[in-house]
């Protein structure tokens, strides 16, 4: 991993969208084999402007407006990767990626395996995902479980401006295919951030404790990723008033899954709530809860709870606030962690 071009050590406010764009630009500048392709990524700079300026700076051969065809976009990326390029594919919206699933599942994810390692697929698939921006149908899906269930893919989701940059650089540098889930509603979230800080590139597969518990008596771990991390941080702040000492773990990477960081946290706190936008039934939370239970059973004071989207097709924009897990729903779950003995002993606060 080379450092970003130019000296840019000053920490300035930046949005997640800007950090993602900067990551693409720096990756393309550092490695001529990095190619960006997708619908509208060139002249328009992407519908979210993440690829803004790349075609101008690197030419249309490096940042290519493709025909409108997701299977074709990902399928040609496979051929490009076969010839030694590192394609970065943009799927315009989460649900638009579905036509490309055959390429993803039948080829991208298993080409390394099929060829006994001779043909790796260093492809990054950027998927603007999740709700909360008032999108109409097919513009707000959380499809991570489909990706997670496919061996051979890495699945990552940044929650902060710095991680957006660092994880995208790591994804592009990876010799394996990475599904890069971009939380749409965090695109315009801001943070003080400097692009010239290689230490900001976290290895894929490492979770981080975003907010440590401070050793309070009623403690719990909120396990989350992507757009739900800020919700958890806000809930943790609000829960102090209720006497709860909450630790927030940001997974960053769903595959590989960082059992060590998650379980270390749960062993410290004794309780866990998994929070995500995706549907609960058969969703990521079930897998995470099972993993935590298998590894931390004797440390748990309560069952691992899940706060997820309802098991419904993603709702129309005027109703999405009822579907998306918010602070209150997280706090309700935290309250339910006062399992039997806590209730009987009346030890709250």
């Amino acid at each position: 991993m080379t450092t970003a071009i130019g000296a840019d050590t000053a920490r300035k406010p930046a949005t997640m969208a800007q950090a993602l764009g900067r990551a693409l630009r720096d990756a393309m500048a550092a490695d001529p084999s990095v190619h960006v392709l997708g619908e509208d990524v060139g002249t328009l700079g992407g519908v979210f402007r993440i690829t803004d300026g790349l075609a101008k700076e690197f030419g249309e051969d490096r940042c290519t407006d493709t025909p409108l065809a997701e299977a074709g976009i990902l399928g040609t990326a496979v051929g490009m990767a076969m010839y030694g390029l590192r394609p970065v594919v943009e799927m315009q919206f989460d649900a638009f990626a579905y036509p490309s699933f055959e390429q993803l599942i039948s080829h991208v994810s298993r080409m390394r395996n099929r060829t006994r390692g001779a043909m790796p697929m260093p492809i990054t698939v950027r998927v603007p995902y999740g709700g909360g921006i008032g999108g109409v149908e097919h513009h707000s899906d959380s499809s991570e479980i489909y990706y997670m269930a496919t061996p051979g893919l890495h699945v990552v989701a940044p929650a902060t401006v710095a991680d957006a940059y660092g994880l995208l650089r790591a994804a592009i540098a990876s010799d394996d295919p990475v599904i890069f889930l971009e939380p749409k509603r965090l695109y315009w979230s801001k943070a003080d951030w400097s692009a010239d800080a290689p230490e900001q590139v976290p290895p894929i597969g490492r979770a981080v404790v975003r907010r440590p518990a401070t050793g309070g008596r009623q403690s719990a771990t909120l396990i989350s990723y992507g757009p739900s991390v800020p919700v958890c941080l806000e809930a943790a702040e609000a829960a102090r008033a209720e006497g709860w000492d909450l630790e927030v773990v940001d997974l960053r990477s769903l595959v590989p899954f960082d059992d060590d960081t998650v379980c270390a946290s749960v062993r410290r706190t004794g309780r866990a709530v998994v929070v995500h936008e995706a549907t609960g039934f058969g969703g990521p939370g079930g897998e995470i809860a099972a993993r935590v239970t298998e590894r931390c059973f004797h440390h748990l004071e309560a069952p691992v709870l899940r706060v997820a989207g309802f098991d419904i097709p993603y709702p129309p924009p005027m109703l999405e606030r009822h579907h998306l897990p918010g602070v209150d729903r997280v706090l309700d779950a935290v309250a339910r962690l006062q399992w039997e003995s806590e209730w009987t002993e009346g030890s709250a606060v």
Binding site: T76, Q103, R116, H154
Partner: protein, 380 residues
Amino acid sequence: MTVLEQPGAYRPTPPPGWQPRVEAAPLLPDAEPYRLLGTAAAADISPDLLTRLHRELVRGRRYNTQATALTRQGRLAVYPSSTGQEACQVAAGLVLEDRDWLFPSYRDTLAAVVRGLDPVDALTLLRGDWHSGYDPHEHRVAPLCTPLATQLPHAVGLAHAARLKGDDVVALALVGDGGTSEGDFHEALNFAAVWHAPVVFLVQNNGFAISVPLAKQTAAPSLAHKAVGYGMPGRLVDGNDVAAVHQVLAEAVRRARGGGGPTLVEAVTYRIDAHTNADDATRYRPDSEVEAWQAHDPIALLEDAMRDRRLLDDEGVRAARESAERLAADLRTRMHQDAVLDPMELFEHVYADRTGQLREQAAQLRAELDAEAGDSGKGE
């Protein structure tokens, strides 16, 4: 008569300055498949090429019968035979330069073997010891592709990438008639035409997608006609005339290499055997149809033409058959050896580095294997 029934009557008003992108006429295939053997033009084909084509056709037929026999002996899980289609396979396997790439489907093992792949490695997928038995870079042959038409966009992407790097590499992608109905066929042809990619698509129209005949697959006048809608030439060729297939493909490869963009070639041929050994072809086609196509056999067509030009005699036929028998004997011997497999390899190639989860699972399998070995040790 309605407007739509009047030829040429339906013309939407074009916007100002609108011009058709290309004239359709040069892109259109001829009505009849192109034939070369038995025509006056065949006299121009080099004797060396004909001899090479003949040798590979005879070896290819023998390879097909041997591989089919290996399925009956339980050595291959399945074999989709290309008997009857050898002319397409041989032409595809010989037409490319070393630096070019071949993108085969599961029925195209013979093309890969003709290109130089070890026959045993080409059959690894079908034997079942791994999903692909060769390093694709060695002979520039992509892994055999089982999903239909999904290898076509790969060919486009590779050819496009090669051109971006300044290499004059051509990709030749093989697909069957059924595969032309898949969305990936459409997307690949569209990308190839828009990107002007150096790709040649060869449709081997062998009459059936398992049991479904072409008439139920498409309403197009021919599969080659589909090219026109993408803005590339479509060429229709007799798929049993190996010289014609080779010539048409060679022209398309030359055109692609010279910057002329992609071509769609439809070779009209016939699958003499069933789809695979798991298929009963008598349920969907009469013997008389098979016999009619057997009378149009690619080997017989070539041998007749070569004997007419005194390029082949009984001795030449015998030499080709002996070469084929050596191929079959070698294949038999090596395929009857049990594959040596290492179960631990299951975890080797999932990711560049094993995840923690896979390390745990590998340890579990290792323990199971050790326990098995311990048990069998006690039994001895």
